[in-house]
């Protein structure tokens, strides 16, 4: 059986993702379209939230991905720090812009929903605040990659930043449990069926979550392929320069 580390070879990674990416992208588009149409057009209003409950199909999956994108970056960063596989460092770099967009969607949809439901766009509630800090960490992470010219140094320093930011990714997820205060309610999804939202909302929500996960995966694969190509172009140009000198 092939070892997973074989795909740390850029050539093998490119070959594999060339075959996988179209399928993941089609599945992502299909599940997003089905989930969002199902949720928007074919689910009833909630007896307390009215039609604003439909925002759950965007807010919950994007918030989930905002946190999990950071964890994916953490795993990729650890692989870089421990095993020095360049593809993993580039995958972490590729995931950050996707994660930041997920975070912005979660923050915006939360604010838009919060205004009529809580009577405010924003509150310095533990979960909201830790989410905002996570957003700032994403920006810092992207900025750090851009600021450092040497690719390996950039990968090292961003990996360390990623480790530190993981604290806020954990807080974003568990802030409601750690501090039993604030406006934000507990998890909408749980392994305990008693705590889940009603099935009529739950099933389209699961499809939307699958859509967001697949979209994240397809974008990270696409962007990692882009980073590998950019890295190779840079190396070839540098080699040319040395040959000319």
């Amino acid at each position: 059986m092939a070892s997973i580390w074989e795909y740390a070879n850029p050539l093998k990674f490119m070959r594999l993702t060339d075959r996988v990416l179209p399928w993941v992208s089609v599945l992502a588009a299909a599940s997003l379209v089905i989930g969002l149409i199902w949720g928007f057009f074919f689910t009833p209003d909630d007896y307390r939230q009215g039609s604003t409950v439909k925002i759950i199909y965007l807010h919950v999956p994007s918030a989930l991905m905002a946190i999990n994108a950071w964890f994916m970056m953490l795993v990729a960063s650890l692989i870089w720090l421990i095993r020095r596989h360049h593809v993993s460092a580039l995958a972490a770099k590729a995931a950050a812009p996707v994660g930041v967009v997920m975070t912005v969607i979660a923050l915006l949809t939360g604010a838009i929903w919060g205004q009529p439901m809580w009577g405010t766009w924003w509150a310095w509630d533990p979960r909201l605040t830790s989410f905002l800090i996570l957003f700032l960490f994403y920006l810092g992470y992207i900025a750090l990659w851009e600021a450092i010219e040497d690719a390996d140094t950039a990968a090292d320093l961003t990996a360390v930043l990623c480790l530190v930011g993981s604290v806020f990714a954990v807080l974003s997820r568990y802030a409601v449990n750690f501090w039993n205060q604030g406006l934000h309610q507990g998890a909408s999804l749980s392994l305990d069926k008693e705590e889940n939202v009603a099935d009529v909302f739950y099933l389209p929500l699961l499809v939307c979550i699958a859509g967001f996960v697949l979209l994240f995966l397809s974008l990270v694969l696409l962007r990692t392929r882009t980073e590998i190509r950019l890295r190779r172009t840079k190396a070839l140009i540098a080699r040319e320069g040395m040959a000319d000198a």
Partner: protein, 48 residues
């Protein structure tokens, strides 16, 4: 179109902003991919 009642603006703006952001992200990712592919092909051609 479902009847969104008094929250129509709220729901539609949440969907509008989110879908727009996702589309921009996909577009930028595809554009960057195309540019990187072209740049590499150019260097490869130059090197024979």
């Amino acid at each position: 179109m479902p009847d969104l009642g008094k929250y129509a603006d709220t729901v539609l703006s949440a969907y509008g902003v989110s879908i727009a952001l996702l589309l921009v992200l996909v577009w930028l990712s595809l554009r960057a991919s195309r540019k990187a592919k072209e740049a590499l092909a150019k260097v490869d051609r130059k090197n024979g």
